[in-house]
Amino acid sequence: MSGTISPEDIIATVTQATEDLFSTMLNLPLEKLEPHTATSEPPGTDGVVALVGIGGSWTGSGRIACDKQAACKLAGALLMSSYPEVDEEVLDAMAEVANMIIGNVKTNFETQLGPLGLSVPTVVFGRNYHTRSAGVQNWMVIPFRTGEDHIEIRFCLMPSQTSQSRIERLRPQVVA
């Protein structure tokens, strides 16, 4: 099976998956901001980033980033609890948020692209760190606002060059 995925497809699919999560399990308001493309990695970040890799005939990566206050609010909404600080439960909740959003994007694209695999999520929390996904040249950046908080979802997907080494290269890397 082969197909193509346009930037509009990515924006629509990521938006739908995010809206589904916010309306079912988070019950938080969600406003989509202006999507754009980015050819470089995001600058040094403070806060929480959750990354999920996609493998198969197409490979890619999904990245959900927000500051620590937003992460605590998302985790609190998901787990119906209150988190004043980022802890293990907040990180686990952010991993699951990424898993559900990127997992549903993956499932949606499988109808066009054939079977795809999903990595277990990786979550990073810290100050002034950089993440880098090797081989990614173009990210679709889809920002959202929930209340006063901002969430940024980055997504890339490209045809695989079929070698296992390429899939290995797409594993998220963290540079302190």
Binding site: L79, E96, N99, T107, E110, P115, L118, V120
Partner: protein, 123 residues
């Protein structure tokens, strides 16, 4: 009669949510066991008797499909209803789970009502 349940998911967040949904559903709940993957579930099922299993599909070590296959071919567990609660939405995986004997399938993200409706038809 109280129903003992096992929740199998590599996400502690999802295990916590499903536990809460079971309480909200007013299921006559007995003991709730948790396992982080299929291998962990099989180990814990050696000493735990359950009447319902909620399991994810994509998990490290042993996925939900393999767990389902093992339990449905085991005389001690083949009659225990197993509901797959998963982000995995590919037709092939869903069909495989149902063919292996899964009692139902709920896709994440889910509402408490979706879980409750699914369980109402099973227990």
């Amino acid at each position: 009669m109280a129903l003992d349940v096992m929740i199998v998911d590599d996400s502690a967040a999802i295990r916590k949510i499903l536990h809460r949904v079971l309480v909200q559903a007013e299921v006559p709940l007995g003991q709730v066991h948790e396992a982080c993957d299929g291998k962990d579930a099989l180990e814990k099922l050696k000493s735990a008797k359950v009447g319902l299993i909620l399991s994810d599909i994509n998990m490290p070590n042993m996925d939900g499909i393999e767990l389902l296959n093992r339990l449905k071919t085991d005389e001690n567990f083949k009659s225990v209803p197993i509901v797959m609660v998963t982000t995995e939405g590919s037709q092939a995986k869903v069909l495989q789970a149902l063919e292996l004997g899964a009692a139902g399938y709920v896709r994440k993200p889910f509402t408490a009502e979706q879980i409750q409706e699914k369980l109402a038809g099973i227990i």
